[in-house]
């Protein structure tokens, strides 16, 4: 069971890396998803097309996964107010740090950016603390 999830984690990671690498090779762009969403309205027009297309690809992947009833399409155990608070924090923080798990965590680390390493260590730490507290509260 655990080996299975390690293997699928590795395979999924390779797909993510291939996509992010291809986006740089083909279009000279960083696959930073938080930034793509956040700046969608204010981006230059050529860029809006690119962002919309990439985000549509993500949506499409979700739709296809739902057709095949992918078991990893999880359900959030949180209530709506908590989802809203979490969303606000993720949006605000990601914009402030100029990158999220994909921008800093994948693309930034892959280009050896010191800023990204700092960001990843920081959000992993506060994320772990929050998850620990949450699992304590929920139990």
């Amino acid at each position: 069971m655990l080996t299975n999830s390690v293997l699928s984690a590795l395979a999924g990671g390779v797909l993510i890396g291939v996509s992010a690498g291809a986006l740089m090779l083909g279009r000279g762009r960083i696959a930073g998803v938080g930034g793509m969403i956040g700046g969608l309205a204010s981006a230059p027009r050529e860029d809006t097309w690119h962002r919309t297309a990439f985000l549509s690809g993500l949506v499409l992947a979700g739709a296809i996964a739902a057709m095949f009833h992918a078991p990893t399409l999880g359900v959030s155990p949180l209530s709506i107010p908590l989802l809203v608070i979490g969303g606000l924090l993720v949006g605000y923080g990601g914009q402030r740090a100029a990158g999220c798990t994909s921008g800093h965590g994948v693309c930034g680390l892959a280009r050896f950016a010191p800023r990204s390493l700092v960001a990843v260590v920081t959000f992993m730490a506060t994320g772990a603390i929050t998850a620990q507290i949450l699992s304590g509260v929920m139990r």
Partner: protein
């Protein structure tokens, strides 16, 4: 048109990777961040190694997007800290949330809307802060906030 299709394809592959790896399951992320299931670390590990290999080729062709121009500042650290709290709370980050919206998950829709509001809020507040000192013009650094890779 070809370029748009290419971006779409990249998004599709990226999304497939998130689904396959389990990143779209909030419970898995909670288990990872709560130190109960280490397998999610392999997602980032293999993604970074694969991406770094392709970036090395891209860098040889055109080093411009790889120039590191911004330094580590308080804004980066506080932003990442706030991001992490939200991520730890909900168990999804921006990309998996978009994938989950595509799968028809209502909870993800709520999360994404709040996320949009949060990032607007930050963009507005950081535009206000410096321009208060000068004039009502938007601060010049708002330009550099758009997707130039050197921004990370």
């Amino acid at each position: 048109m070809k370029q748009i299709a290419f971006s779409l394809l990249c998004g599709l592959v990226f999304g497939a990777g998130l689904v396959v790896s389990g990143m779209t399951d909030p419970e898995k992320i909670h288990a990872f961040l709560g130190a109960k299931d280490p397998s999610m670390a392999f997602v980032m590990g293999s993604a970074v190694i694969t991406c770094a290999a392709l970036y090395a080729i891209a860098r040889r062709r055109n080093p411009a997007p790889f120039a590191i121009t911004k330094s580590i500042d308080a804004k980066l650290v506080t932003g990442a800290a706030i991001f992490g709290v939200g991520w730890g709370l909900v168990g999804v980050c921006p990309a998996p949330a978009i994938v989950a919206v595509g799968s028809g998950a209502g909870w993800a829709g709520v999360f994404v809307l709040a996320m949009l509001a949060g990032s607007r809020l930050e963009a507005m507040s950081s535009r206000l802060a410096p321009s208060r000192l000068e004039s009502s013009r938007p601060a010049p650094d708002t330009e550099s906030r758009s997707p130039s890779p050197s921004n990370l």
